[in-house]
Every structure is written in structure tokens, then in C-alpha cells.
């Protein structure tokens, strides 16, 4: 699956064989070999994962066993009631939204939802939201504001759905309206990039008081393939583009575009959903506590100030004459 894990997988296979052997014959004397192998796996995993290239992180961020929005909801948000529909046109399964409990209060949860199997992915449109998905989210943001409930959003999308039908129903308009609404929403908003944070389709659910990224998630203005096609005129250069785009959590934290990186368990979130959820849950709890201390006017103006600062520009004095 992940080619940079070939070595690790060899060790994993060997461990599995010995485990079976030990089970069949408790006196087979493989116990010591097993401990050695386990230590080696740990060390080499740590080594591989502390030196991941951007492209390897892209692969991790897209890993089909990676926890998706509903996996985190299952583990962190009890009493979840999923709500459906935009009250306009349809219900888009590539966005899930609902009410839930978190840390003993009621909250609103909204996120992109990818599938794991092909059938699921067809149903979920590979996590590419349609206008009605964004408008369902918009409606639920409205509920959050009306009933004064904090909002958690989870980003995991290659981008917004770009078909002719999506254009017909105003994909740009749907995305823009969500951004404008989130920017001024009068409740705390906490956003986490859990997998792929792809372009405007991510941002439409992604403007918050705090933006977190799971360690191996990515967040980008365009997919590496799209950027490669545009810039290098060939999507083969996706690996090169992945590096050039500075899309990893560490790069983006350094750039000041996100607030916090949530550590993933050794070997990536896909190897241990519970551990990943536990780490995320802790960060979300801390973050929510912080935000709930602020009065709402301050919060909304701080949110504005936060985005206000996102940009690096220069001055060039020999200006245009018009």
C-alpha cells in the first residue's frame, strides 16, 4: 500500500508468522526472536516516520484505512444525531453533519466524509462535496448559532466536486457563502484537517478560531497532481509539486497558517484509530475550553484578526502610473 513501508511490512509479516508459530507450539522458543523483531519494528518505524517526505505524507493523508470524520465522531462525540439535507435540493453524503455531546456539552459537528471501499467512495463522491453538501453544512452552522452551540469541523477532501452539475447549482457560490458565514459565526469554531485539506472545498468548512492539523495530514491550495499539471504541465511531477507546495503540518505550523499539530500514533493514525482519536480529543478539549472563556464579540473579532494576518507581501516603490 505505502511503498515506503516495504521494509516495515517485511518485519510485520515475520512477526505475524512467529506469533502463529508460538500460538501453535508454546515451546517453539521464538519468544526472544519476537522481542527483537518488535524492538526493531518500533525503531525503524520511528525512523521512517520521522523522515517522511512530503509526498509520503500525501500518501498517508489519503490512506484508505486512515480515520475519517465518522471514525472520530464514533470515538469522541457521543449521542451523535446525524442531520440531513439542505432544505433546498438534496442531501449530499460527502458531508456529514449533526448534533452531539463533547466534554459534557452539546455541540455541532460537520465534516467531509470519504468512504473506505469503492462502493462507499462512490456514495460519498470520494469526499468531494457538492453544493448541497456545503449548503447542508451552512444550515447546520445556522442551527449552531441559533442555539449557541460550538462547532467542530473536520476537513478531509481532495477538493469540491467540479462537474457541470455542480457548476449549475453554483459551487462557487456555495463555497463562498459558507466562508462568509463561518468567518462571522457567533459561536466558537474549531477546525481540524484530518486527512486531505484540498483547496476551496476544504476551506468551505474550514474557517475557525483555531485550525488544527493531524500530524500526517496535508493542506494545500491544489492537489499535487493538479499543481503538477498546471505548473509542470504533467501530473507525473506530483511528487515534486508536493514538496514545492509546502503542504505538510510542520511547514504550515511554521508558516503560521495553522495553530497546532496533533501528534499521530507511531506508524500513522491509520494503524490505531483509537490512539489518534485520543490525541485529537485532548487537543479539542483544551482548545474548546480556551475559546469558551472569551466573550463572543471578542471571539469573532479575533477570528477576523487571525485571518487578517495570513499573507506575506512586500512594498515596491516604483509604482504604476495607471
Amino acid at each position: 500500500m505505502l511503498d515506503f513501508e516495504d521494509d516495515l511490512n517485511e518485519i510485520r509479516d515475520r512477526i505475524e508468522q512467529l506469533d502463529r508459530k508460538a500460538l501453535q507450539n508454546p515451546n517453539s522458543g521464538v519468544t526472544q526472536e519476537l522481542s527483537v523483531l518488535r524492538l526493531e519494528l518500533e525503531a525503524r518505524t520511528a525512523d521512517v516516520y520521522s523522515n517522511l517526505t512530503p509526498w509520503q505524507r500525501v500518501q498517508l493523508a489519503r490512506h484508505q484505512e486512515r480515520p475519517h470524520t465518522l471514525d472520530y465522531i464514533d470515538r469522541l462525540f457521543p449521542d451523535f444525531v446525524e442531520l440531513h439535507g439542505d432544505r433546498r435540493f438534496g442531501d449530499d453524503p460527502s458531508v456529514v453533519a449533526g448534533l452531539a455531546s463533547f466534554d459534557n456539552i452539546s455541540v455541532v459537528v460537520v465534516g467531509h466524509q470519504k468512504g473506505r471501499t469503492t462502493a462507499e467512495n462512490l456514495e460519498r463522491n470520494f469526499g468531494m462535496a457538492r453544493p448541497e453538501g456545503f449548503r447542508k453544512a451552512l444550515r447546520i452552522f445556522g442551527l449552531a448559532e441559533t442555539f449557541n452551540r460550538p462547532v467542530f469541523t473536520f476537513l478531509d477532501t481532495p477538493g469540491a466536486s467540479p462537474t457541470l452539475e455542480d457548476e449549475e447549482r453554483g459551487q462557487s457560490w456555495a463555497i463562498a457563502e459558507n466562508m462568509g458565514t463561518l468567518a462571522r459565526l457567533r459561536v466558537p469554531v474549531i477546525t481540524t484537517v484530518i486527512g486531505e485539506g484540498g483547496s476551496g472545498g476544504a476551506l468551505a468548512l474550514g474557517i475557525g478560531d483555531r485550525v488544527l492539523m493531524m500530524e500526517h495530514s496535508i493542506y494545500s491550495v491544489a492537489s499535487p497532481e493538479a499543481a503538477a499539471a498546471i505548473v509542470w504541465r504533467d501530473s507525473k511531477y506530483a511528487e515534486k509539486a508536493a514538496a514545492a507546495l509546502r503542504l505538510t503540518s510542520a511547514d504550515l505550523l511554521h508558516a503560521g497558517l495553522i495553530d497546532r499539530v496533533v501528534p499521530e500514533p507511531e506508524g500513522g493514525a491509520h494503524r490505531d484509530h483509537n490512539a489518534a482519536a485520543e490525541n485529537l480529543g485532548e487537543e479539542l478539549r483544551t482548545t474548546l475550553k480556551e475559546l469558551r472563556k472569551q466573550d463572543i464579540d471578542t471571539l469573532v473579532e479575533s477570528r477576523y484578526d487571525k485571518y487578517r494576518e495570513m499573507g506575506e507581501f512586500a512594498h515596491h516603490e516604483t509604482s504604476a502610473t495607471g
Binding site: 463562498a176 457563502e177 466562508m179 483547496s199 477570528r303 477576523y304 487578517r308 512586500a314 504604476a320
Partner: protein, 269 residues
């Protein structure tokens, strides 16, 4: 093809087929304001930095910016300022497509945000004219975040009852369509302009000027409910003046000077 001077006089509109050719920012400002000299530019010196040190096979981002600057005599892909429309001072932001396909980077976003902030402070109605390939890839996620902050700045206008009218000119694509432009109170398309979300993958490069298909023209987009009006260039100024009269705060009707100085020294245009 027409005799050139006549074409210019006709606001770059072909009298035979109504083709609306692209205008540069200066032409657009002259078209929209009572007089071009009423325009007071702000933030003309703001220009791109290189936040992710992006290099294309064809050269560095900074080379690209340098060439765009030489080509357009502008420092960025938008020209912002104030001017008189029907004797009322308005805030005006006109994108310069010649500058890296009108793409939106940090400096572009900064200028748009400052324009909205000035309008909010001085209670000036805002007109934007978009012509853009979308977010500027060369700035990575910094470019994407310009969608967020320009939209946030636009959203704050509504809270102080300041109208924003957007004119979508050819082409208005991707990250610009899907941000401050689409949230405008009134949206006007220019005839035949390509307006769409899926920009870069379909409209390749900066040479091709119109979509081959009729699918994503202003007229098509209006049919689908996204535009208030599609207006020929000849009608644009008068209709904008009417709309601003209808929506702008009462009591700020004539010749209001900006209350505070813009952040950089204004230069006559």
C-alpha cells in the same frame, strides 16, 4: 474584424457581434468613474513576496512577478482606490488580468482586504471588477487563505450596511469566483464572460480568452440563478449608479472624501 479606433471608442465591444474584449484596469476605471482623474489609488506599492520560495521550470515566482510588473506597469493583480461615480465617492477594486492571469496571492488579498476595510471605515459603497484565473499556486496555502480573508472582510461590510457590488468580467474563475466575488450583494456579469468554479483545469493558461462552450458564460450562469444581471458595458455605469443610490447609506450622497488617510500615500492615477 473592426477598424480599431472605433472598437476602442465602443468600450472594446464589437458592434457586430457584441464580443466584449478584455479591458485593462485603467480602461475599466475610465469606463466606470465620472472622470478617470477622480480616482485616488491606494496601496499601489503593495506587491508579492515569495512566501514558499516557489520555482517553476520556467523560472522563479519572483521572476514571474517581475515580468508581470514590467508588462502591466502594476505591482499587483488588482488596482484599488476611490473615485466618483455619479458624483458619489465609491471604493473601487479592479483586477488586472495581465498581471499573472489576475491570480490572487497574498499581496492581492491584502489589497482587497484593505479596500473592504477602508470602505467599512469610511462608509463607501464598494464596486469590485473581477478578472482572474483564481488562487495563485506559487504561494501555496497562503494563496488559498486569501479566499478566507477577502471573504471575511467582505462579510463585515454587510454588518455596517455597506453594499458590495461585483462585476464579473472575463474570466472569473475558481478561487476568486468562490470567495469575495460570489458573496457580493449584487452580482453583474459581462456578456460572454466565462465564470466558473473549475478554473485552471479547463481554461488552460492565460492565452485562451473564452470558453469554447457556452456552458459557463455569464448568460448561462444567470439562467442558473447566480447573477443578478448581465449588462452590456454601455449600460454598466448607469446601472451601477442606480444600484448604489438604492443601497448605499442615506446621507453620504456626494463627494465624500475618505475620512482617514489610506495606509499608503495616495497617488493620482
Amino acid at each position: 474584424m473592426q477598424y480599431r479606433p472605433e472598437f476602442e471608442a465602443a468600450l472594446r465591444v464589437c458592434s457586430a457581434c457584441n464580443y466584449h474584449d478584455r479591458m485593462d484596469a485603467a480602461e475599466r476605471i475610465a469606463l466606470l468613474l465620472d472622470e478617470p482623474k477622480s480616482f485616488i489609488e491606494i496601496d499601489a506599492d503593495i506587491t508579492a513576496a515569495d512566501p514558499i520560495e516557489f520555482v517553476r521550470p520556467s523560472g522563479s515566482y519572483m521572476d514571474r512577478v517581475g515580468k508581470a510588473r514590467a508588462l502591466t506597469n502594476r505591482n499587483e493583480a488588482i488596482v484599488c482606490g476611490t473615485g466618483l461615480l455619479n458624483e458619489r465617492r465609491v471604493a473601487l477594486g479592479v483586477m488586472e488580468f495581465g498581471f499573472i492571469a489576475g491570480s490572487m496571492g497574498s499581496a492581492t488579498g491584502e489589497k482587497i482586504t484593505r479596500l473592504f476595510e477602508m470602505a467599512r471605515r469610511d462608509l463607501l459603497p464598494v464596486i469590485t471588477v473581477t478578472s482572474s484565473g483564481g488562487a495563485r499556486q506559487d504561494e501555496g496555502l497562503f494563496a488559498l487563505m486569501q479566499m478566507a480573508r477577502t471573504t471575511a472582510a467582505a462579510a463585515r461590510l454587510r454588518e455596517v450596511q455597506i453594499p458590495h457590488i461585483c462585476v464579473m468580467a472575463d474570466p472569473t474563475l475558481a478561487g476568486v469566483t468562490a470567495s469575495f466575488a460570489a458573496t457580493a450583494d449584487i452580482i453583474i456579469g459581462e456578456p460572454g464572460a466565462t465564470i466558473r468554479f473549475a478554473g485552471s483545469r479547463v481554461v488552460k493558461g492565460t492565452i485562451r480568452r473564452r470558453s469554447d462552450v457556452e456552458d459557463h458564460t455569464s448568460e448561462w450562469v444567470q439562467q442558473h440563478g447566480m447573477l443578478d444581471l448581465v449588462l452590456a458595458r454601455q449600460e454598466l455605469r448607469d446601472t451601477l449608479a442606480q444600484l448604489i443610490t438604492h443601497l448605499a447609506p442615506v446621507g453620504h450622497t456626494r463627494n465624500l472624501k475618505p475620512k482617514t488617510q489610506p495606509a499608503t500615500t495616495p497617488k493620482p492615477n
